[in-house]
Symmetry: D2
Subunit: 261 residues, 4 copies
């Protein structure tokens, strides 16, 4: 019976709609100093200097005047973390009360580190690769558990049990989907917490002060963060869209040590 | 000297950019019941029934997946009220610290009721028209005061006084301008509080239950509101854009007694 | 092995800390009309009239100047809904990445309607009681599934699999716990959506206009709502604390048809 | 007539009510790793290490589980900036529509730098002291303007003009008052933007890494900020209350370069 059940490691982020550019930031910022005359062409050329200034001085509001609409497909345990972002995010998600959930479950990919390094501390846990045997064992456990749970789910539904009751024992790796409306500022706040970063060393900071901002690489930040791998992947996909739509904003964000304005 | 100073009653709301339609609401709502299959054509036809259901059951989040960018020109005393709307609104405003403010001041139009009806209660103040003499007197006071203040402002600036200091005595009817990013839900919350409404009578409610929703007229609400005339004008202009871009949403909002979902 | 696993229907809401009274509302409201003189005794007597006026005119901000800190224990599928409330709520929740989750799972109580009435519509689903057989069957499915999942969880942990990986197949009825900071306004917004209500009939409205507000009973609202039973129970417990700490506010909220200001 | 008009430089911040301590932060944080067992004594001893870890890793939510209620008296041009802080702040302010405003106006104190250094750039303006003559001139302009405006205000009120109309020409340095509810996290966000700071040099960063955190002095930050003097004074007064109620949180905030978590 279980052959219609799908196991996958795919985490999908589609950009459904977008009104965003570096020029949006400039228009919003310039109303401060130009007032009525700030209404220039939003499709014009953006100035790197102004955007870098806004970012490094943490003038955050000009980065809110734009719009990204994402459609995201990921397991519930990822959405649980996602929904903790309350500001500048609008959510509409698939409902387990109103819809029969699809038999689609997340399994970690082979390259995902599964094992915890003994002795590593909460908040700074280190992870290690699984052996082939361990990986097979984890997958077999997950899959067995999901197949069994989903079969019981179907059985209860067929029996007339309400969807909101029949789903109670479904696991947190079942897939869900949602629309997410947000803006560049809320995206940057998300990235600042949901992408893995180690602390940027003062010596690097020192060096970067004289280097062009474009060569400050990912992974160096003022503040370290240790997100879960799966939400990090979602964040990376969102970052790609930010980088494409607002390249100067994205560059300035990196130069500012990934601290959202 | 004062002849370059402009007095006006104009309150301007321009829609600079917009990604919004009733189909946006439907796409966001349908992810609840359709999941991945909710990604239908956003330019398709919207269904009145679903949107009315969402509104009257106060499912608010589907109305957040859209984007309106306004440019608003109004006096400071209007912006003071506007900025109290914290949720679903992004603001960037002209700065009195970084920009020399324009000599443009708000004066009430002739038809604006200027006088307070004696004995009317706070929160339910009633207003009456001014006589021609009273109107002239109010205008003459306002204009004299503004001209004098602006001349002193210019004099201080020429003398090297910082803009943020020289503006301290400028009046709250001086014009400012701002970009406002928001969505249909935050607009409706704004309209529900910033448009004058009297309480809808139960008998009217009763009648409307059998009438087509389109003939429920403005001015009948579950909850009364008594906004300041000037912000009401701004709200009316915002409402026009909502009505144009999302006619079904707007109709459903009216039918729900102007209670934002 | 499974005998240490706990199954329960308990949903717990503890009030850990609270600074709230009807006088808080009055002090905040009176600053509008009294300015500096608004600083009266917060432990004094509150006036019903003012609070009813604020509520029925939807002056919401005076209801934000207070503080409730809850500790809530409920299954993940309840928290999933809870966390969609973004405004005026602060959350800190038990982490499946940093903590071994307790073997405690939610099961519906005998009196919880488990069956869906065939033909009832999404958004207005009707539920019916389960027969003794059906109830036993649901419980046996849930319990088997939970026991199996938890045993696999333990096995993986013992094997060195990271907690965030080993928990992927744990079901949404496993218990979690969280601190929630909020205020009377955010609580009322929560109650307005998470307690079951049928639409208040115009005739009832009419009647209530001449009756003392205290006799408007729960269940009559301007707007219907159909929440999940389990979050409704949580909401009811929160409402008890609101009623105890701010009885006039609570009464006015009911009289205003359970529409949060 | 003008002798009843008060001119002052006073900016007042009173703490009306407070439920906040470093232990609040710890309780909220520990629910992540302890779940139900996190409910320890909130009046116990706080651990510096945990709070510093939360701050430097930007785990912000544990700092939201507390409550500060301020009563603030300041001119309108300060409140205009204050109200741009939308998240984690609740406001109720004196109303010019419902209350006759008091004849109390802000004037800069003698030590406030009034002059702008020619050639300094927007966003990084530099200010210089006024000569005695310049100071007298600024004060005389401000005072004349305020007296004239307030006299016209009174005259219009006596004539029956509505308060909301008669106040249109009142200047932005007239005093207002408000209640502000907030929490440690929103206070820190406020301080990070509304206190003057120069950029912390990498060499200082380097040094501070080996020094006890308590000796990192104010004025060294990761990100520079150039607030208006008057809101900086308000921020300093709020900071005193934060420091008194949550000394470890405050210390950790400074050590983290004044970047709010």
């Amino acid at each position: 019976m279980a052959d219609f059940i799908k196991f996958t490691s795919e985490l999908k982020v589609d950009l459904m709609e977008c009104s965003a550019s570096d020029c949006h930031v400039m228009a919003a910022a310039r109303v401060s100093t130009k007032g009525n005359e700030a209404k220039f062409d939003w499709t014009g050329e953006a100035r790197t200097g102004l955007i870098k200034y806004l970012m490094s001085n943490r003038h955050g509001t000009p980065f809110e005047h734009n719009y990204f609409e994402f459609f995201i497909s990921a397991p519930i345990f990822v959405f649980r973390e996602f929904h903790r972002h309350r500001i500048g995010f609008s959510y509409n998600e698939e409902s387990g009360r109103y819809k029969q959930l699809e038999p689609k479950f997340y399994i970690p990919a082979r390259e995902r580190d599964l094992m915890q390094v003994p002795g590593s501390k909460p908040g700074r846990y280190e992870y290690a690769p699984a052996s082939d045997d361990d990986y097979r064992q984890v997958l077999s456990h997950l899959e067995e558990s999901c197949v069994d749970a989903y079969e019981k789910y179907l059985e209860m539904l067929e029996h007339g049990v309400a969807k909101e009751v029949a789903r109670m024992h479904l696991p947190v790796n079942i897939y869900s989907s949602m629309y997410v409306a947000c803006n560049a500022r809320s995206i940057m706040a998300f990235l600042s917490l949901r992408q893995k970063r180690t602390k940027r060393e003062p010596s690097v900071l020192n060096a970067s002060a004289t280097e062009p901002w474009s060569i400050v690489y990912k992974g160096e930040a003022f503040f370290p963060s240790n997100p879960m791998k799966e939400i990090n992947i979602v964040a990376d996909k969102m970052e790609e869209f930010l980088a494409e739509k607002m390249p100067i904003t994205w560059g300035a964000f990196k130069e500012a040590g990934y601290v959202a304005p």
